[in-house]
């Protein structure tokens, strides 16, 4: 089995050769992204800035899930629960630490990532032994257990009411939305950069080898279980970061913010966005914020309370089913962007 170098970046198609300084290019993309976000936060009205921040928070999760599902072939329906792990960690820690300066938020977010990593390692160890529907069922059970845990340990998590996230006001005179967008996109861009570098290297090749043919990968000396657990852990860390940022955005956490539907939405977003590339994760994150907003605009004129929230649900579902049925060749090749040949190398790979 030949392993062909595959580009996974958000950049335009450039034929990569072995000596091209791709790490530098990723870095330039990250800096460019940061400049664009900062510029946007000054240009956009506060509500749009808030939406931009939300895209950043979701991007952390969708990027991690894309790596897990698109590149490693493991489907997780439990990433909403991993987000909740991160979010609750931030809420609990901020309650203790807030008021001592902005550095406390960094500590809380790092702790959230660490805890989600641990949770991901536990689920990932089980997941590495499971395939297809068994894995999906297990992660589904993880997703529905969130409200049960918050109710069982209600002295800590305060059941359905949830916790509020205590935050220090932004430094200086920065409006809160702008500050949130900066925070979220710092996380998102760091995530994208880290994942892009990871996916590009040996680890990424091993992940794709495991996805495409486990037996062949094992014969080629790839530790299949090790790769799967490691990918799950990386993906869980991203979900924890995303959850932490969502908690910072909403300034509260409750089980209602992390329902099963959220986990399904995440899967939907990365599938429609385009599995197998981190660019797809970006479009997925945009969809997650844009579609409900769009449906809100549509239903605003008519007096239809029941359409609100349910219309995007149905739209997401229909799109998901149609995309899955119209794009044969397996979940891994499902990338609408690839069809219009933005990625010359993946075309080579498909022929090979």
């Amino acid at each position: 089995m030949s392993i062909v170098r595959e580009r996974v970046s958000t950049g335009p198609a450039v034929t990569p050769t072995r000596d091209r300084p791709w790490k530098l290019r990723y870095l330039l993309w990250t800096v460019g992204g940061a400049v664009a976000v900062v510029a946007l936060t000054y240009a956009l009205p506060p509500f749009r800035t808030y939406q931009l921040a939300t895209i950043g928070a979701y991007l952390c999760v969708t990027a991690g899930l894309t790596v897990l599902t698109g590149l490693n072939g493991q489907l997780s329906l439990g990433h909403g629960a991993l987000m909740a792990t991160g979010a609750y960690t931030v809420a609990l820690l901020q309650d203790k630490l807030a008021g001592r300066g902005q550095w406390t938020l960094l500590v809380s977010v790092l702790a959230a990532v660490a805890l989600a990593t641990v949770a991901g390692a536990v689920v990932g160890l089980a997941a590495a032994r499971l395939r297809g529907p068994y894995l999906a069922g297990l992660t589904l059970a993880v997703a529905v257990v969130v409200p049960a845990i918050t109710s069982t340990f209600d002295t800590t998590f305060n059941s359905d009411q949830g916790l509020s996230v205590v935050l220090d006001p932004p430094p200086g005179t920065i409006p809160v939305e702008r500050w949130q967008a900066w925070l979220c996109w710092t996380g998102a861009l760091l995530t994208m950069l880290t994942l892009a570098v990871l996916v590009r290297g040996r680890f990424g090749r091993e992940m794709r080898a495991v996805r495409d043919d486990e037996t062949a990968a094992r014969l080629a000396g790839v530790g299949v279980a090790r790769t799967q657990v490691l990918t799950f852990v990386v993906s869980a860390a991203c979900a924890g970061l995303g959850g932490a940022l969502v908690a910072v955005l909403a300034q509260s956490v409750s089980p209602g913010a992390f329902p099963l539907t959220l986990s399904l939405f995440l899967v939907m977003a990365i599938v429609i966005g385009g599995l197998g590339s981190l660019a797809g994760a970006f479009w997925g994150a945009v969809l997650l914020v844009a579609l409900p907003a769009l449906a809100h605009t549509v239903t605003e004129g008519i007096d239809a309370q029941r359409l609100e929230g349910n219309l995007p649900l149905a739209l997401f579902g229909v799109t998901l089913v149609v995309v899955m049925l119209a794009a044969p060749g397996g979940i891994a090749s499902l990338n609408p962007l690839r069809r219009i040949s933005l990625h010359p190398l993946t075309r080579i790979r498909r022929k090979a």
């Binding site: 599902t69 072939g73 489907l75 329906l77 089980a126 032994r129 499971l130 395939r131 297809g132 529907p133 068994y134 999906a136 069922g137 297990l138 589904l140 059970a141 993880v142 529905v144 257990v145 409200p147 049960a148 845990i149 109710s151 069982t152 329902p259 099963l260 539907t261 399904l264 939405f265 899967v267 939907m268 599938v271 309370q305 029941r306 359409l307 929230g309 349910n310 219309l311 995007p312 649900l313 149905a314 739209l315 997401f316 579902g317 229909v318 799109t319 998901l320 089913v321 899955m324 049925l325 044969p328 060749g329 397996g330 979940i331 891994a332």
Partner: protein, 292 residues
């Protein structure tokens, strides 16, 4: 001791429902190697249909029949219009399509009926009979047992004693050979989905009155419990799914009774993890497992 006896009967009552639901999962899994993750949502949709008819006509039984019929129809339509076109090269595709269906069904139900809980009617009293001061079973529990037992017996007769059942089994195990022998394999798949969805609808009608009430998401946890039941039984075995259902029902009843209802989903997760890690083929898997 009284409490233990009561919880045991209560658990068997719940377990019968999970068994029926797990049986529906196993039916589809055996025929198509797809776990129908949309089963819970489909059952809720048909229960809403039954609810509409019941409240319009005032007859519970008319609604009951309509719900089962709607299950047959919805199952057949789902197979004909959607599942037939799923690419089977990756097992994930079927799961993702089913999840898409979950979103569609929940979204449409929410748009039509709203997202509030509605009471689901029960045809019989849910007050338990007392024997020597110990609360045992209610009329409704007896109805649940009778309904599930009837379905299990009917399905067993269908698969072992009728020509249609033989064709369905043949289509599931050797589709190409069956097609060569003149079996309408596509039709058998449609029939299988229709039957499974109808069994799911029945399970929905039996479980919704007990604790849940009608809500687009009402069956999410029931689905997870039933999936666990099917996994305990090994996903391939009809008998296993029934036994698995009873085991899960008893576990949930004891955990809710002694530790609190909120712990129940956690217990299901633990059971699922233990079974999947210990015996991924299910408790009833024969030693000669299918070679992959």
């Amino acid at each position: 001791m009284d409490r233990f006896v009561f919880l045991t009967f209560d658990g068997l009552g719940r377990g019968a429902v999970y068994a029926a639901f797990a049986l529906a999962l196993v039916l589809i899994w055996r025929a198509t190697r797809i776990v129908n993750f949309a089963q819970g949502a489909m059952a809720v949709a048909t229960a809403y249909a039954g609810y509409s008819v019941s409240s319009a006509t005032g007859s519970y039984w008319l609604g009951f029949v309509v719900a089962i019929a709607a299950g047959l129809l919805l199952g057949a339509v789902t197979e004909r219009l959607v599942m037939r076109f799923v690419d089977h090269s990756s097992p994930l595709n079927g799961v993702v399509v089913a999840l898409g269906l979950v979103l569609v069904i929940q979204g449409v139900l929410g748009m039509i009926y709203g997202n509030e809980y509605r009471p689901a009617g029960a045809p019989f009293s849910r007050d338990a009979f007392e024997v020597g001061g110990v609360a045992l079973l209610s009329r409704f529990d007896l109805f649940v047992f009778a309904a599930v037992a009837t379905v299990v017996v009917l399905l067993a007769l269908l698969f072992t004693r009728t020509a249609i059942g033989l064709r369905m089994r043949a289509s599931a195990f050797a589709p190409d050979v069956s097609r060569l022998l003149g079996v309408n394999v596509g039709g058998m798949l449609t029939l299988g989905w229709a039957l499974a969805a109808a069994v799911g609808s029945l399970a929905g009608m039996l479980v919704l009155p007990t604790e849940l009430g009608l809500h687009p998401n009402a069956m999410d946890i029931v689905f997870v419990s039933s999936f666990t039941a099917a996994v305990v039984g090994g996903l391939d075995s009809a008998v296993g799914s029934v036994v698995g259902g009873l085991i899960v029902g008893l576990l949930l009843s004891y955990v809710s009774g002694y530790l609190g209802a909120t712990v129940a989903p956690i217990a299901v997760l633990v059971l699922l993890v233990v079974v999947l890690l210990g015996r991924p083929g299910g408790l009833f898997s024969r030693s000669a497992a299918r070679a992959v």
